[in-house]
Structure formats: C-alpha cells, structure tokens
C-alpha cells in the first residue's frame, strides 16, 4: 500500500513537472517574440557644399574635430552619416585652426533624414549655414532634378533646358521642389535676372537618378558664378514582402512548409498534465 502511494505520488509529481515546464515554455515563446521587437535609432546623413564667396579654401570642424581639410569653394561632399541631434559646426580658413573659425553654428539633424548643408555668406557678419532637407526617393524610370540657389547676387534665377523653362523664381538660399524629368542628355541654362547672364552646364540623367544643380559664386564679382552638379542614384521604396493570410494557399504549401502552431498543443497538453496530477492526488488522498 505504501509502495502504491509512493508510486502514485511520483507519477503525479512528474505530471506536475511536465505541466509546469510546458506552461513556462508556452509563455516564454511569446515573450521571446515580443522581446525581439525594438527600434534602433538611425543616423542622419549630411552632405556639405562650400558656397561662401567670403571664405576661401577652408577646414571644417564638427564638434571640435576636423571633418574636412582644404575644402575648396564650389566643392561638395557625398552624404556622410553622423549621429542625430545638435552638432557644433565651425568653418575656418585652411590652416588657421578652429579658433579662427569664420562660421560657427549649431546644426540640428534628425534620425534617418538626408540634408544638404551650404556654407554661405559674403561678409563676416552674414556668414552662416543654409540647411535643406533632401529626398532621394527615386522616380521609377525617370530622373529627379532639384536646383539650389546659393549665389548672393543672382536674384531669382530661371533654369531651362533646350529652350524650355524647367524651374523659375528660385531665390537666394532657397531650393526648388523636385522636378521629374525624362532621362537623357541635358544642357542646363541658368539665367540671372539681375544682369541677364546665363551659366550653362551639361549632365546625363539616367533612370532613377537624383540630380542636384547648385548655383554658386557671384554673377558680378569674385569668385565667378558657376554651376555645380551632383548626381546620385535614387533610392527605392520598401518592398511588399507579405502575403494575404486569408488567400487560398498554394497546393504545395502545406506539404513543403506545414504550419504547426506548436505552442498551443503544448499549452493544452500542459493543462492535461496538471489536471491529471490533481486527479491522482485526490484519488490517493481518498484511499488513505
């Protein structure tokens, strides 16, 4: 009798153990699913163009560290990734050191965004940074064009190609919206209304490209006005990689990839184990 009671207790303990293990595994499965879901902060992306007629070839410092050396007027960088948030930007004549900075500004950037930052200004009291938020999302099968007016004496310029006006009324320190254009060879003519001068530059716009056209320099003065172009591959949107869960499944789907929601059978089995444990305990107690 004693042996029977011990056996019953042992079996019931095993059943309880299996049941509790199953419940814990069931809960852990879904907790692990949730714990893996989080969002990591993206960096910001910044490209810099030197468009200040006052500052010659320059060194550029960010947060006290030199970022660019001997950065010539009219030069533009590619997009660099930097931490989001505020940054101290200082621009000094080449070799003069950070303490001789002609431009000192705080640049605040948001995670995941792309920016064009232009050093502008013609006098010590109007040196600054012009900041533009960029969109490099591609236009499928065509090209995108944006013009940045960074010439202090050009006025509200007009951009034309092949005699057709593409953009107009873009004033100093402003950028146009993105214009979708057909792919092809272009000669862009930028005309200043202040003296009627036209600057020209050629570029080949391929499919899915984003083209940036910068007007820099002085139409009456030095450095002489010029057009700077930057061409970049446009970026696609995110893919649609999900499927309709209510659609009729493909014939081989169940055989090749059977979907077994194992946590649920485990949970039900666990409850049966625990229920059996209780039942056996009661039977043993009655027989005593």
């Amino acid at each position: 009798m004693k042996l029977k009671r011990l056996s019953a207790l042992l079996v019931s303990s095993l059943l309880l153990g299996f049941g509790l293990f199953g419940i814990c595994s069931f809960a852990a499965f879904f907790n692990i699913q949730k714990a893996s879901a989080y969002q990591a902060t993206s960096p910001s992306f910044v490209r810099i163009i030197h468009a200040s007629p006052y500052v010659g070839t320059a060194d550029i410092f960010v947060d006290g560290s030199k970022l660019l050396s001997s950065f010539a007027f009219g030069s533009i960088t590619d997009y660099a990734s930097i931490p989001p948030g505020p940054h101290k930007v200082e621009i000094a004549l080449v070799g003069k050191g950070i303490d001789a900075a002609a431009i000192t500004e705080t640049l605040s950037v948001n995670p995941g965004f792309a920016y064009t930052v232009a050093a502008i200004g013609t006098q010590p009291n109007n040196l600054s940074l012009a900041v533009f938020v960029d969109s490099n999302l591609l236009s499928p099968g065509t090209a995108k064009l944006r013009m940045y007016e960074l010439s202090p004496d050009a006025g509200s310029v007009t951009v034309a190609a092949g005699g057709t006006t593409l953009l107009s009324g873009i004033s100093y320190q402003n950028a146009s919206s993105y214009l979708v254009v057909p792919v092809g060879e272009y000669t862009f003519d930028v005309t200043s209304p202040t003296n009627g001068t036209t600057l020209s530059t050629s570029a080949t716009l391929n499919a899915n490209m984003v083209a940036s056209l910068f007007v820099v320099g002085k139409f009456n003065g030095s450095p002489k006005g010029e057009l700077v172009t930057a061409l970049a591959a446009g970026l696609p949107g995110l893919p649609k990689t999900g499927s309709d869960p209510n659609a009729v499944p493909q014939t081989d789907a169940a055989q090749t990839h059977p979907f077994i929601p194992w946590p649920w059978p485990l949970g039900i089995a666990s409850m049966l184990f625990i229920g059996s444990w209780i039942f056996i305990r009661r039977v043993v107690a009655k027989r005593q």
């Binding site: 419940i23 960088t77 965004f113 995110l238 009729v248």
Partner: protein, 210 residues
C-alpha cells in the same frame, strides 16, 4: 462539485496565464521600445568625396551573391537579382518567390562600400511561412553569410534591428548609408491590410561587414 473546484480554479489560472503570454496573433503587431545608441561617444566619421555615378568605374571583382545563410535561425536560401517595381518599390524574388531571397542589383554588391540590400517574403498566400519567416528571431550579433558562385563567403554581423511603417522608413539609412560596408535584410511584419495588399510594418535587419 466541491471535488472539482480546485481543478476549475487551476484551469482558470492557467488559461489566464496562457492568454496573457499570447496577447497577439501569429503575425503580431510589434511592440516597440526605442533603444538609443551611444551616439554621444561615437566619433564622426570621415566624409567621403563625391562618388562617380558611372557604375562601370567600379572594380570588376565585384561580389555577386548566390546564397544567403543565417545559421542562428536556419535560413539557407538561393539569391536572385531584383530591381525596382513600376511603382518605385524594391522588387521581390520571382524565380522562386517563397524560398529565394532577392539582392537589389542596382545598389552596392555585398562587401562593397555602402548598403547592399536583400529582401525576402515573410509568408505565402494563406499564411504559410516563406523564406524570412524566422527573421523575427534574429538577434544582434548573429552571423550572416553570403556566398558567390566561386564559393567565396562574406560574413556580416547583425548590428541593429528595426521595424518601420513603409512611409516612415529611413530609406537613406537602409539603401544609402556610405558610412561603412553594410548588408541590410528586409521583410514584412505586423498585420495584413486587405485594401492595401500589404502589412503594416517592415522589419529591417542592419548588418555590418566583418
């Protein structure tokens, strides 16, 4: 009835525990909490010079991936080349849509400076798993392997995992980060939206070349 009371009480407790642990469907909406990287102590990298747009100027020994392996979550998939859909979104595999993954051939090659991208389906019509079904189980630090037709294998390590709505995704970070050598994986997540024929979220796994 009295004899069954403890059984009923235990049944109710266990049921509550199971329901609390679930709280969602299998294609569950992700619960997000923000992880802030230590950007305050991250040095600002060197700025790259403007790059030539003509891709023919790139080295000829580019890496063309043919297989993607993720040992930690049991993924071993053939890699197709994919381009852009007419609507401008990244395309998905077509030769074997549910078992292959797609490398964005208009972006960098794996191992090339910049952000190479590979996408794959989360599931099939009817809800059965597809190639990236278990991408949700990946962890920071996991090893990603891409192999070319010569048997050469490149290794990447998972650095970040994020979930975005499609219209809020940082595409410059996913496709256009020139700050290093990356391979980013994309699949769907969240709930199905019938009238949009897409899910609410996308999962992006950021990895760095090692």
């Amino acid at each position: 009835m009295r004899g069954f009371r403890p059984i009923l009480i235990l049944f109710a407790l266990v049921s509550l525990l199971m329901l609390g642990a679930c709280g969602s469907t299998v294609q569950e909406k992700a619960e997000l909490h923000t992880v802030h990287a230590d950007y305050a102590n991250t040095p600002i990298p060197d700025v790259p010079a403007a790059r030539p747009e003509n891709r023919a100027e790139y080295p000829i020994n580019l890496f063309f991936p043919v297989r993607l392996v993720i040992p930690a979550i049991g993924i071993n998939a053939f890699v197709e080349k994919v381009g852009i859909r007419p609507d401008g979104d990244l395309a998905t595999p077509t030769q074997n849509p549910w078992d292959n993954v797609g490398w964005y051939e208009l972006g960098p090659h794996p191992g090339e400076h910049g952000s190479a991208v590979i996408d794959g389906h989360l599931d099939r019509p009817g809800g059965y798993p597809a190639v990236f079904w278990r991408l949700r189980d990946i962890r920071v630090g996991d090893d990603i392997q891409v192999t070319n037709s010569n048997g050469k294998t490149l290794h990447f390590r998972v650095s970040r995992i994020a979930y975005y709505t499609p219209d809020q995704a940082p595409i410059q970070d996913i496709f256009g980060n020139l700050g290093g050598t990356y391979l980013n994986l994309i699949t769907c997540a969240g709930d199905w939206i019938p009238d949009q024929h897409q899910t609410t979220l996308r999962q992006v796994v950021y990895t760095t070349f090692v």
